[in-house]
Symmetry: D3
């Protein structure tokens, strides 16, 4: 009775020197990450049964990704091996007024050339509780768009609930109409939507009202609910102060009840993978049947806490996240 996530995992290369630049890096720190594998690793660390499904090249770099996934306790038995390469991206961690930046080199990756039929999805999804997918995978290629939709449909058909994080990678789409068209189809098969105000504006030109980011997010979540006909939505709220400091909150709407989380001002060590930490935290809370307030509170604490951890992976335990949720944010040493 576990979780399945499906998508791309990439080789992430980050200049090893603190605050280093890509163009003069002498060493790159190595991580393997991607939205859906990040959700998987968080769920595994929270002691859930999780499998991650993707396709990886049959070489030592693909093996590296496998080892990384396994280290968290993620099941990798249904990962296809083959294709030509693993997608790669290079990250510069920003600081203060200097933004973080990403150079992608992900075209022609193994998963982007994969089709739905390569894997036996009925076997993969049997007995699963939740499927997690994101808006990135459909952007990778036509076959990936088809596969993502078919996986969602298959899950639905089999009684596996579908959660969808509407990530929108502008540069991967020729036209946002393409994104809208495939997202619409996925949303018809979605039980739980993760998102935020910005992505709804970017993809659906959805205008929101409200005097502050929280109110705007409430407005957005209500519009999304009615527009897409969904009953479960969980949105992150991010106020940018600088590359080093953000204010973070969460808003969720479940079966007509809207909840707002605490807000956290955090100094940022690594901003990547934070939305994934939120999604994993929320799914974990649902799995634990914690009720909406605790579930959103836990998800938002995870979201905030991830900003203080290097790499895309959120490696905090349930106990550590709950401690933040309970308000232990003033930094007393734990001995």
């Amino acid at each position: 009775m576990g979780f399945t996530t499906f998508g791309e995992i990439m080789l992430r290369l980050t200049p090893s020197e603190h605050a280093g630049k890509i163009n003069s890096a002498q060493n790159f720190g190595v991580h393997y990450a991607g939205s859906e594998s990040n959700v998987a690793s968080s769920l595994a660390i929270l002691k859930n049964q999780v499998q991650f499904v993707t396709k990886l090249p049959l070489n030592a770099v693909g093996d590296g990704a496998m080892r990384s996934l396994q280290s968290f306790g993620i099941s990798t038995g249904n990962i296809a091996r083959g294709g030509h390469r693993i997608g790669t991206y290079f990250i510069e961690i920003g600081s203060s007024i200097r933004p973080s930046s990403v150079v992608y080199d992900r075209a022609h990756s193994a998963i982007s050339e994969m089709t739905f039929g390569e894997l036996d999805w009925e076997t993969i999804l049997k007995g699963q509780k939740w499927l997690f997918i994101s808006g990135i995978t459909p952007a990778l290629s036509k076959s990936c768009a088809e596969a993502t939709l078919l996986v969602a449909k298959t899950a639905r058909k089999m009684g596996v609930k579908v959660s969808f994080d509407m990530n929108f990678r502008r540069t991967l789409w020729k036209d946002k109409k393409d994104a809208r068209s495939i997202f619409d189809a996925i949303l018809e098969n979605t039980d739980l939507l993760f998102g935020n105000t910005g992505v709804l504006k970017d993809v659906y030109d959805m205008e929101v009202s409200g005097a502050n980011p929280i109110d705007q997010t409430i407005s957005a979540i209500e519009k999304a609910k009615s527009t897409f006909g969904l009953e479960q939505l969980a949105f992150t709220v991010r106020e940018h102060h600088s590359a080093s400091e953000n204010k973070l909150s969460g808003v969720a709407l479940l079966n007509d009840k809207t909840t707002i989380s605490n807000s956290y001002n955090v100094e940022i060590i690594d901003r990547f993978g934070t939305g994934d930490a939120f999604a994993a935290g929320f799914l974990h809370g649902l799995g634990q049947e914690w009720g909406l307030d605790k579930t959103l509170g836990f998800a938002t604490a995870a979201f905030a806490l991830k900003h203080t951890i290097r790499g895309d992976q959120h490696t905090s335990t349930e106990e550590e996240i709950l401690s933040i949720f309970k308000g232990n944010i003033s930094g007393h040493v734990l001995r």
Copy 2:
């Protein structure tokens, strides 16, 4: 006419990567530290004659601790060698809302199995001015509790002044009554007490009044003075904003005169060893016969400055600490 400190020095292992986690560390940075050896190294760097007394295993790791101590100019000639192991601890440096945390592996260390009689304390303490001990050593084992008390008594008898930092490591004590009982006996032989509001509450259930942390500390220091019958007390004041930022002050009471230091808002590089920096700074000021205001000001400047230095050791020179004390805290480059 120097200083002697007695206690445990441990191997401190910290993930080498900035803000790294213990569970995925590929490298650990190596320090050797402990409350009493930290006080010794600070005093040595401030150009005092200092010896540190402990017991270390006769192997390469014990040798590493010896080399570390010697590098600061600490006399190590009275360190016993033998026993089975050096105590070890693992540190995760927190950041923002994420607290620092410590995993201890210190049971069965050489010093914890040591007895008072293993060393010739009369020779060791001959001609010394100050002994520094802390509440940690009595917590290590029954023989350590006995030894600490006997060392304090011997010092007293020989005219060496005794300073006692009432550190309280909750997890090392079965019952706080045990701590209270040995602390009471030590306090009878104490000339100068280091502490803070929290520890008095934890160990002695001492309630304090006051609208703010400074006032509360004044209240605490006065209660401690009357309760324990002491004439010299120096307390740190810490206000936690987050794991990355604290507000720091000091309060001291000497011969009925109470003084309050400046306060410092500091961003934290490494929070460990800061109380030890305060104690060393205070002892140094007494040794220099600077008078209470300068002594407390210097100790508090050292306390604050240590937060910006990696490792448990406070490696700042007297000139650097005095410069902070004089108010040079706006970061002009020293060329």
Copy 3:
């Protein structure tokens, strides 16, 4: 139908600097290793189903060991969590005339305080093909000696074959009679013995004849066969030239047939875990039903190849080991 190994996994700390010394190390490289877990990781990398059974403390360091084991694909579901600490050892990698050396700090580890009854061995061993144990675990404590023997007996009873590597850690035994006594009992439950000439001499005072190390090993293996009444024995042969260069071979005796492998002169990157690589290679060959010559050849190639890999773990794939076995040892670049 897989493999189960049982024993201690430790935190291995190696000075990060190439050829660095423990007493002046500024950083330690982190590995988690132990004879039985090394065998498990090799078998997992060779794509076998493997589980490793041990006890680990419930803290971040124990979590680190878990993550390391999982990264190789080892099943960790039957690892007990609890106790006080993980055993630790420090390694200096030797070079040329300077020997490698080890400082152990393994007393009081979680597994050393563990009893047979803490785990449900009948469930653990159900359906397993091979159990692997070594002579190290019985040396850790009385309860470990009992547990090891009981595990072997349980396996035997359940039809799981028992392989035993007669590792002998001199410093862990008060008297070698103690080792002999427990080894005797284990040998009565052993199907396959791993060893070498030296250990038989050390533990059993077994004298061997022969003009060269290979002949001496044949002599030893035959004596062991008759002394212990075993049908399957596989021994390593090591000729020390220096800390940087060894000559390596293997000898095996299966059902009265003795075979000798090729010999390899290797330059050594890391000498640790090499016997474990041999055992894993041999078990893998048996599992693949390759016949004695290929099985021994593969095991010896793995034994030799491991010397060129840093860390205790042998991370070579089956293809890489087979390539050595086929004689590709002249270093042509694989593109």
Copy 4:
């Protein structure tokens, strides 16, 4: 039609460990830097034609400086090789209340023993648009003071505009009268002056009025204009909050028009080379004929942005600096 800068480039050694101290550094990070070479590298990264002129020893360290300069695309064809050593300096990066500090070891460097006549300046300066020099070079030695003045005069004579950054290194001058005397002569040959309120006070005892640092800088720039008879002046404004945070602005006066830039609050990664980034940005704007507002705005954005980049070199592209100038300082990730 490019830029020429002339001065000293040094070996900069910075403890590799984040926030490390010189006296216990195990590794030093290596940069090659100096005010005039920093201006050259910024200009080269901004895709200008730049040459840097200096003298470097003919050894592997001198070669290292050459490689560093070339890597940015700086022309090094007119660098003299010879002399005895490269100047060296050691840096401790401050944090919070702890100031950054510098230990110089630059006496007897190759350039300090160089004379004007060693190079053919008429050939070097032919067809150049701007010469950049600073107040540091004249401080190195008598021959350097003479050379700097002669280079400025030669440039003037040949129609190359002269920009002069009035850096004042207190410890390099016996008496500030010496500095004033050579600065006066250089200023007679200067077209564009870089400076700040502090240096005018230090060297010329120039008192300024104004309620805040911006107003004080306007006052200083107007006094400098009338005192030195200059038409182009660009000054930085720095408000120190701590070693980790500064508020930064710029003020310029061109042909009787005074402009004030935006201000930036920045968290500091590396404070060194920031004034050089300002000068390079200003010269770049003039070269692009951007007009005063954009030129000063760009220079100040470069000044602020450099604080977030490790090393003395400002490695940001024109696009990155313009983005800051346009107000993108809230740290949105660039994908």
Copy 5:
């Protein structure tokens, strides 16, 4: 009157840890390398005028390659910028019986999608003395094969001599007939051929005679001379002992005179880029008009010396290579 090389430069990622494996690397060391750029950097370090021509993506990784090339003093003014990605490869440095291995990820690189017409080759080649190309570029794509041939023809027509290193990357060709066909056309435009016995066998099934590798190479070079109608040929000779030790020599034939170099037994730090060091050394000798013996001797010394240097680039100076050529190979310290 300089050298032009044309081909692909790639991002080389090597596990940072000495002898590390790709699948568990935590950090990758960064180099930018490729056969033709390696020849360019060697020639530049030998103080020749060199330009390198390629196509690089317009992102921070492409900028990194530019900075690396410039650091050696290579002219990069004719490098096209654009396309989608830089080719990448991962290297495991072998040791002893463990071979080095390479994982390529170079498909779809900017240069592989480039055409001859994108650059103005007549301008590029004007006044050049030598063009260097290799057999790798034609293997990248059809357009690259065409471009390489057209570049060679253009050079020939303009009086620029053409040197061709017959590198053969098996995995990049569908059929070796394709290689042969394009190589034949290039050879018609070749003045100087670099190669070895192996490549002639692989591509042309050319059988050689001779009792030892030197004699076999003489046989190969004579056959190549008559088969291809060439007057200048320089071949490397490599005898593999292990991944850590090779014996290296050179054989050249110029205008009917055959010469054999000294042989060197070397321990290998990094085996990559060694053939390129040979080619650069030979071209340098021709440029210096040293005569055949010194030219081949220098090239072979460079070939051998490169094996002791990390990275693909041969960074030795002319003085250092000449010293090897003169027989200073016993390792006396140079002070």
Copy 6:
């Protein structure tokens, strides 16, 4: 009753990357070393009372040298502080046919500008057993030459035995006659001479006979004995195979008895400081009154063993060196 050594300690900078080059180093490893301080650290590690006398600048780099010296247990109480700089040198560690090389930047160091009268040598030398000096210090400056001679004379006068290592740094002397002249004067005050065949030839044009290096060294030692009128001489014998491998021996002559040590073939990690390890080992043996054979055997074992240790310092314990002396050179792991 201890040892005093007098001379220069320098900052040693070595590229951090294994086998790295100075001209492209991104990080330098930091050591503090010099012939006389190396002898002091070896003697301290061997548990002798040792003081090192020199002059160091009063800055953080000088403090670093102090901390390094103290870490070994060397007394630093008689080190003068002041002057302008610490001498610096850069090292490239050679490998195979590539020699190690050194770039010195030591002119104008604090000690080079020091005079005999700055220190109270009678107090320093009171009660000492041995003084150790070398031929390097007299080469630093005229005042150093005078000081070295006066120190030797003072020692002699006070009954402290003088040992002199005739190091000859060619590049520090204008004419070898200058060296000969000061060496002659020192030799008149010398009790024990360290040297080798090469230095006698270089400085004194002393020709030796003998079929092999051992015989030649015997010849040299006998000539030196008669030429200089000495009774105690200990010479190293080095046969260079490559930068990675040397054969090492020792020859000593005491009171007319000549002894030859075992020879060791070693693979070299770091060749620097090896002669100093020999001298320290020999002095230690004399101090222990071991007799000539064991003393020379120990010194030569130390000499050989140091080649396998990084840095100039020989950090082996007496037990480790004795083990080599006893023939344990085949690399059995010490557990």
